[in-house]
């Protein structure tokens, strides 16, 4: 089964982005034979209280929930976040956490936010970490937006070896990519790769088992990562791993 590990539902504050609703997401998935998708709220990136975005996501997904695996946007630097965690993972059936440290104004190395990572590690909750949604240079309101460093991701995953983390939206030539250490609890999505040879390089560095197909739909053209896969000179086994098996392992351990 093909799994898209990186899809957003909702609206975006800085430009018109169409297709961010359950019906269009399912339609897109059907057109590309995608069986399941990991979905988080686009609105949760910008809302001060991202729990409201998670509630919107639940309302928006409706009865498509078997194919749309819910990832709750959690801001561990915001008041009451621990209640969000209890609600989302113990009551509402979310299966993963989505974090946006840059937009939410914290760094993953801060002591303040470590309880989230401890909770997820202890409770088998995978974390999807968006490396970038938009650049600070794209809008005056985003000035000061900080991107992650590979070193801080490395340090976190070394400290929590039971924590499973997927880094999404990482562009192939980004410095973060070259700073990351391959490890069993780190996965990377391919949504922003520019060429198939970048995928081949990533396989050499991280191993095919640590890469997940992801599209960043509706932000990015779904055809792009599909073309990366289509023209990649890789084995059928590697292809199957990237297109679905790895996402299952990230999700379920």
């Amino acid at each position: 089964m093909i799994i898209d590990a990186n899809i957003y539902l909702g609206n975006w504050a800085f430009r018109r982005v169409t297709g961010g609703n359950a019906d269009e997401i399912i339609r897109m998935m059907d057109s590309f034979s995608i069986g399941k998708a990991f979905v988080s709220s686009m609105n949760g990136v910008m809302y001060r209280n991202c729990e409201e975005a998670n509630i919107e996501l639940l309302e928006g997904i409706g009865n498509t929930s078997e194919r749309l695996v819910r990832f709750a946007v959690i801001n561990p630097a915001y008041a009451g976040w621990k209640d969000d965690v209890v609600d989302c993972f113990e009551e509402f059936g979310f299966q993963g956490a989505k974090i946006h440290p840059g937009f939410h104004g914290y760094r993953i190395s801060e002591e303040l936010v470590q309880p989230l990572f401890r909770y997820c590690a202890d409770n088998d909750i995978p974390i999807s970490y968006s490396a970038r949604m938009e650049e600070g240079i794209e809008h005056w309101a985003l000035r000061g937006l900080e991107n992650p460093t590979g070193q801080e991701i490395d340090k976190l995953l070394a400290e929590y070896p039971d924590l499973r983390m997927l880094i999404t939206d990482l562009i192939g030539f980004d410095d973060v990519f070259t700073q990351l250490t391959p490890r069993d609890n780190l996965w990377l999505d391919i949504s922003h790769l520019r060429r198939s040879d970048e995928l081949e390089l990533m396989i050499k560095r991280f191993g095919a088992k640590q890469l997940c197909y992801g599209s960043a739909f509706p932000f990015r053209a779904v055809n792009s990562p599909m073309i990366v896969m289509e023209y990649a000179r890789i084995s059928e086994e590697e292809r199957a791993e990237i297109m679905g098996f790895n996402a299952e392992r990230f999700l379920n351990g």
């Binding site: 240079i137 922003h192 520019r194 990015r220 053209a221 792009s224 073309i227 990366v228």
Partner: protein
């Protein structure tokens, strides 16, 4: 048929040493327009010398000759160097290049570009500009991107392009890679909307969904060009996945470039 309006012959950067010949074969590009902007050592100086530009153009010429018909050269010229117009004319008339590549030496609307723009109109070849639209005061100069721009190098945006286009209505100008990651493609396209002699190059790593549709709507499909600029899957995916008609897609993938470059086959 696929005509790629924007690609490069790279040099030494470790992540960008993809083989352009392998690329065009792997992805099935029939014709690829190519320039070389990088200097030995992975340098992108603001002011390459005349000889550095000509050496780069000789490298492109060698590629063109080796793969007859698959590559069309766009010659790199530094407008501030002596002999700029003569060199440009020589590369087009004597060496069979198909266009002019201008990079970040000066802004597109700098008066020093005017003689080149006039010559381009006379020779009936387009000028492909490196264009960006990052909110200027925020543009990162910390080397986070793989290439390290020099302080004060001149990264033209759509407004610079529009100014030049208005001064030279008979010159064909290509607004380069609007869909580059981190760029405001809406601003870039809107800035040149009223300039019928400006084409929009849809290449870029952004692969932003909606960009192609926006360009078709704002600039008109006949002014939209397919290009890749190193972001092959991103750029191809954006056009192939765009919500446009098949006829529009064909125009973007080849028809408009054929017309612009006077290609008969």
């Amino acid at each position: 048929m696929i005509i790629n309006i924007h690609e490069h012959l790279w040099g030494s950067r470790d992540i960008e040493t993809y083989d352009i010949v392998d690329v065009v074969e792997r992805y099935g590009f029939d014709i690829t327009c190519i320039s070389k902007v990088e200097l030995p050592g992975g340098r992108f100086p603001k002011n390459p010398t005349r000889e550095e530009c000509n050496q780069n153009n000789r490298d492109v010429k060698e590629l063109m000759d080796r793969h007859n018909g698959k590559f069309l050269g766009f010659c790199l010229i530094n407008p501030t160097e002596p002999g700029a117009v003569d060199d440009f004319e020589g590369w087009i008339k004597d060496e069979g290049f198909s266009g002019l590549k201008l990079y970040t030496t000066v802004f597109a609307d700098d008066p020093i570009v005017d003689p080149l723009a006039e010559k381009a109109a006379e020779l009936d070849v387009p000028i492909l500009f490196h264009v960006e639209w990052a909110w200027p005061e925020l543009y990162p100069r910390d080397g986070r991107f793989r290439y390290n721009p020099e302080p004060d190098d001149c990264r033209s945006n759509g407004l610079h392009i529009a100014e030049l286009a208005k001064r030279h209505p008979n010159t064909t100008i290509i607004n380069g890679h609007v869909n580059m990651l981190g760029q405001d493609w809406e601003a870039s396209i809107r800035a040149v909307k009223a300039c019928p002699n400006v084409y929009v190059d849809l290449s870029g790593s952004g692969s932003s969904r909606g960009c192609v549709e926006f360009a078709v709507r704002e600039a008109g499909v006949e002014r939209c060009l397919f290009g890749t600029d190193g972001s092959i899957a991103s750029s191809l995916g954006a056009v192939l996945g765009a919500d446009i008609t098949d006829d529009e897609r064909t125009l973007i993938m080849s028809g408009n470039a054929k017309r612009m470059l006077n290609i008969d086959y």
